[in-house]
Point group: C2
Chain length 237, copies 2
């Protein structure tokens, strides 16, 4: 399983991803699901990936091989289009062979960042290679184990959230998801892209034993118990 | 969609269910998903149902027709077995015809209560008619839209929760689920069965405009915002 989440805000975009990959319970490994393409002063493209690891690694590798072309796309939109096209290319290579073994080759991506001369943009590339963009009204994009964080994110996060608050909120979302699904696990990658910086200034990796992550995780049961304590008793007729 | 939840506690069992049924967005209706069989002083059997409404209604109707036999099963376990058998009987009648139209005939049930001479018991009957029992370690059973409430229930509810606290907690779970999935909706049925009463003493229906339910729903964003406010800021290197 995977949990990737990104939130667009008026002052930038925050990204968070876990690192657990597995093929059954006996084959568990860690791979970062966050990839950053950076041409300082020109363009930042952050990718979060979910789905079949062989597929997503091939897509990332091909984009890295074609880095010059990829980063020279006329707009951010066309860079996202290139991610979708590369995904289709890898699926054209692998999907039929995997289907014979009933293995799903699908992968999907969150792609966000900024190209000089444009506002920051944030997209979700579907397994079919088409894509949608986040907006002021729907600033949140998620991949993988997306349900457990929704009760938090849907009420606590908005386009007008400060970037620091959005970063905290996404880490809380990651902490509660890790608590409920053992297939979502640290290291956790966090990147807060500041609008118009056109370079990565705030990025951090949290290892499994990170004290801050443990602190956030511990805030959750406290909040839930307070909530239950605060609720008035049910009156039965 | 549906949300049904039941929690076993040392002092009884609490049940909650929504009432939204739908076949597409244009055919939306309300049906209670809670059915109570009561032989005061002898036995209480509470059923919560999810899945295909035609299937679950047929199962309930057949059990009501055979009420005398159903309530005379030698133990609570055998009553649950009868629910599974009746489900198989209805599926044997309907499933093949529905499959031709690619309609899923499946239904599932939470069945709990108490028979005189036994402790309270709580079971989940799967669509195949087999079943599992809740326990001290795993006191919670859910059907339908089960994800959104987990972040609350997994930390705030346990076998040793007082019956009143468990009732509040399940209603909070219902409130947050209704907030996130419009296909889960009031009226909400709540029943708190008190151990060894062998009759229903505490049951309440909450209509869509219920003030208490609205109050619980309003506590959620407050709790989430306090949680985010309390989390210390992320330190970037």
């Amino acid at each position: 399983m995977t949990y990737c989440v990104a939130a667009a805000a008026s002052t930038g975009i925050v990204f968070a991803s876990d690192s657990r990959t597995n093929a059954g319970t006996a084959e568990v490994a860690s791979h970062s699901k966050m990839t950053v393409f950076e041409a300082p002063g020109e363009r930042v493209v952050v990718l979060l990936s979910a789905g079949n690891l062989a597929t997503s690694q091939s897509v990332i590798t091909l984009l890295e091989e074609r880095r010059r072309e990829f980063m020279a796309k006329p707009t951010f939109f066309h860079a996202v289009e290139a991610v979708g096209e590369t995904l289709r290319e890898v699926l054209a290579r692998d999907a039929a062979a995997l289907a014979k073994s009933h293995i799903d080759a699908e992968a999907s991506f969150i792609v966000g960042g900024q190209a000089r001369g444009e506002p920051p943009r944030l997209f979700m590339v579907y397994p079919q290679g088409n894509f949608i963009e986040a907006s002021r009204e729907s600033p949140l994009l998620q991949l993988g184990e997306t349900n457990y964080a929704k009760p938090l994110l849907e009420v606590a996060l908005g386009f007008n959230s400060a970037l620091d608050d959005a970063a905290k909120c996404l880490l809380l979302a990651m902490a509660v998801t890790m608590r409920l699904n053992v297939a979502v696990a640290a290291p956790v990658d966090l990147l807060a892209y500041e609008k118009d910086q056109l370079r990565v200034t705030r990025r951090r990796r949290f290892e499994q034993d990170d004290a801050y992550l443990a602190q956030l995780s511990g805030l959750w049961p406290r909040a839930m118990n307070e909530l239950c304590g605060r609720a008035p008793a049910v009156a039965f007729p």
